[in-house]
């Protein structure tokens, strides 16, 4: 009897919760349709955290000095969340001198291409051979792009964000992204009906905008 009582209590609470949701005209995530928001990963401005040792540019490329004095360059997490599946297709070649603001990575988002700009000035010494045409999963870890011998890094790094400033910057970027999506998205439901009421943004929402929108995204968000 006790076993039946415990089982019925557990199932009763689940059933009541289902009725409560129904009375609120909401659906349990298990019963949402395939294209519902519950199927789609979302992100908020609160999720962005970066390693303490990195320096981030306004163009969402980061720089980190390694123990041999080389500067590792990569793409930040904000871009991953905004664009969804992204892969670097080209990088500046080994031995090339790159100025701050020059294109250092070319990346593909679906059939569109985006240019990412170097946060520092220097010579490309090494390209991560595992990065080309591979979906970026670990932006601050294994999925870095190139190693550079930077010039005047101690001066240039003062113009980059670090520590808490990165969080503040990415929070502001999140707000800008909402405005941008509102202007450009072809599928407003992916941005979420409650987006301007403090709601979340769907991961990869930018990839669903027009080709012209992608160009504007590059201009608005990827300029150093």
């Amino acid at each position: 009897m006790v076993a039946i009582f415990v089982l019925i209590t557990f199932l009763l609470f689940i059933a009541i919760d289902w009725l409560v949701l129904k009375s609120q005209k909401k659906k349990h995530p298990a019963f949402e349709n395939g294209t519902s928001i519950a199927d789609i990963a979302v992100f908020t401005k609160e999720i962005f955290r970066a390693p303490l040792e990195i320096f981030l540019s306004k163009g969402h490329t980061w720089a980190q000095k390694n123990e041999y004095g080389l500067i590792k360059i990569g793409i930040d997490e904000f871009i991953l969340k905004a664009l969804g599946k992204i892969a670097i297709t080209k990088t500046a070649e080994t031995g090339h001198v790159v100025k701050k603001g020059d294109v250092i990575f070319e990346a593909s988002v679906g059939n569109k291409t985006l240019n990412f700009r170097s946060p520092v000035q220097g010579t490309v010494k090494f390209i991560n051979p595992l990065i080309l045409n591979k979906k970026i999963n670990d932006p601050y870890g294994d999925d870095w792009g190139v190693l550079m011998a930077a010039e005047n890094f101690s001066e240039i790094k003062n113009s980059l964000f670090t520590g808490n400033d990165i969080r503040k910057f990415l929070k502001e970027e999140f707000s800008r992204l909402k405005d941008f999506l509102h202007k450009h998205t072809l599928r407003p439901e992916l941005a979420g009906a409650t987006m301007f009421d403090g709601g979340n943004v769907v991961e990869g929402a930018v990839s669903s905008i027009t080709a012209q929108g992608i160009d504007e995204f590059e201009k608005d968000f990827l300029t150093v």
Partner: protein
């Protein structure tokens, strides 16, 4: 719009009623004793508080060690997003199991005796130490989340350096503890119904804890998605369900082999309420989930995934209550049904656990992935060193 704590919702009202009733029951329990507040007796000394709060609570908290084992021992990194919520659930589950124990112990103020008065021949001694140590380990496993929240990178670096040994210790302690809960019943073979008594009880408890731990991860993901509109990581949940069903099938096979080899299959033919409960446990906890989760199509459908997790948890609850209450009641002929006090205290502990979980995920980065402070120098960087030197 921010949620206000004063905003009334159906579940808030229900939770407040349950907590008020629970607090009143706690008052009765600690002022008038076990005899006045429970339906326990000398013939039936372990009831709902042990059967549900301890045996089910600890088993349902097994998701923490199961996910940690997958991510940190088998190095399957894709499960990492599930680790923090699972560790938090495990930590809260253990804390609440200890709270439940405090209600059940005749002299709760003497609980610390196990620390210095060692009785190494007692299974309860092992249980007590495992609970103490594993709760501490779970706190340490969750501690980085607190440090990240309060931005204390120096301490975080130290904790991260010792995190792997801590995780491994946690898995070891949890293995000992989950199985020793089953060992508790090995000392009373003549008092348990033959369908549930087995010398393999520690193995059954351990295997069922793993399978239910993964099912709880799925169930909890749906609860979080419902409450916070988080996206469901369906691929990970589907993989969890697959691991869960493998352990369910192993557990079931072992049970059947044991029943047949020990000549106990005949008890399945004795039609009685006890046998029906055994059949129900197998039907709900094994056959139905095995039917759905053995098909990839169903595993990748969130509706079936959710219901399968509900079935697995239900089967687990039935099994633990059957072992701890049904089987003992059947043999002792003593009747037991929990009193309102016992029920309200148990419900209060569940509600406190859910509120604590909600409060913590609202204020700490539980659903964020682990922050890597230090990446080891990769092979590629090592290769790049001579390049630097040569130029």
């Amino acid at each position: 719009m921010k949620n206000s704590i004063l905003k009334f919702t159906f579940w808030k009202v229900v939770a407040v009623i349950i907590i008020v009733a629970g607090l009143y029951s706690a008052f009765i329990r600690f002022t008038q004793g076990l005899g006045a507040s429970t339906n326990l007796s000398d013939a039936f000394p372990w009831g709902l508080w042990i059967g549900f709060d301890m045996l089910c609570g600890v088993g349902l908290a097994a998701g923490g060690f199961a996910i940690c084992a997958v991510t940190h021992i088998f190095n399957v990194e894709k499960f990492k997003p599930l680790a923090r919520p699972a560790i938090l659930t495990a930590f809260l589950g253990y804390i609440l199991a200890v709270c439940g124990l405090m209600f059940d112990l005749g002299r709760p103020w003497a609980i610390w005796h196990a620390i210095i008065m060692w009785n190494t021949h007692s299974v309860m001694f092992e249980v007590a130490w495992c609970v103490m140590l594993y709760s501490t380990v779970l706190f340490l496993e969750f501690f980085p989340v607190v440090l990240e929240r309060f931005k204390l990178p120096k301490i975080l670096k130290i904790i991260k350096r010792v995190s792997i040994p801590i995780m491994m210790l946690g898995i070891l302690l949890s293995t000992l503890h989950q199985s020793s809960l089953g060992s508790l019943y090995l000392i009373m073979p003549e008092k348990m119904h033959p369908l549930w008594y087995s010398p393999l009880l520690p193995v059954f408890f351990y295997l069922s804890a793993i399978s239910t731990g993964f099912a709880m991860v799925i169930f909890e993901a749906f609860l979080s998605a419902r409450a916070y509109n988080h996206g469901l990581k369906l691929n990970l949940l589907s993989a969890c369900s697959f691991i869960s069903i493998i352990f369910i099938i192993i557990n079931f096979t072992l049970k059947i082999v044991y029943l047949s080899m020990s000549g106990k299959l005949q008890y399945l033919l004795i039609l009685s309420p006890v046998t029906y409960l055994f059949y129900l446990e197998i039907l709900i906890g094994t056959i139905v989930p095995a039917f759905f989760l053995s098909s990839r199509k169903f595993r990748e459908d969130k509706k079936y995934l959710y219901f399968s997790s509900v079935f697995i948890i239900s089967g687990f609850l039935l099994n633990r209550i059957n072992v701890s209450i049904t089987s003992l009641a059947a043999m002792s002929k003593a009747s037991y049904f929990p009193s309102i006090t016992e029920i309200s205290v148990t419900m209060m502990l569940v509600v406190i656990g859910m509120w604590a979980f909600k409060l913590i995920i609202q204020n700490f980065p539980v659903f964020s992935e682990e922050l890597e402070l230090e990446k080891p120098v990769s092979v590629i960087e090592s290769i790049s060193k001579p390049l630097t030197l040569s130029e």
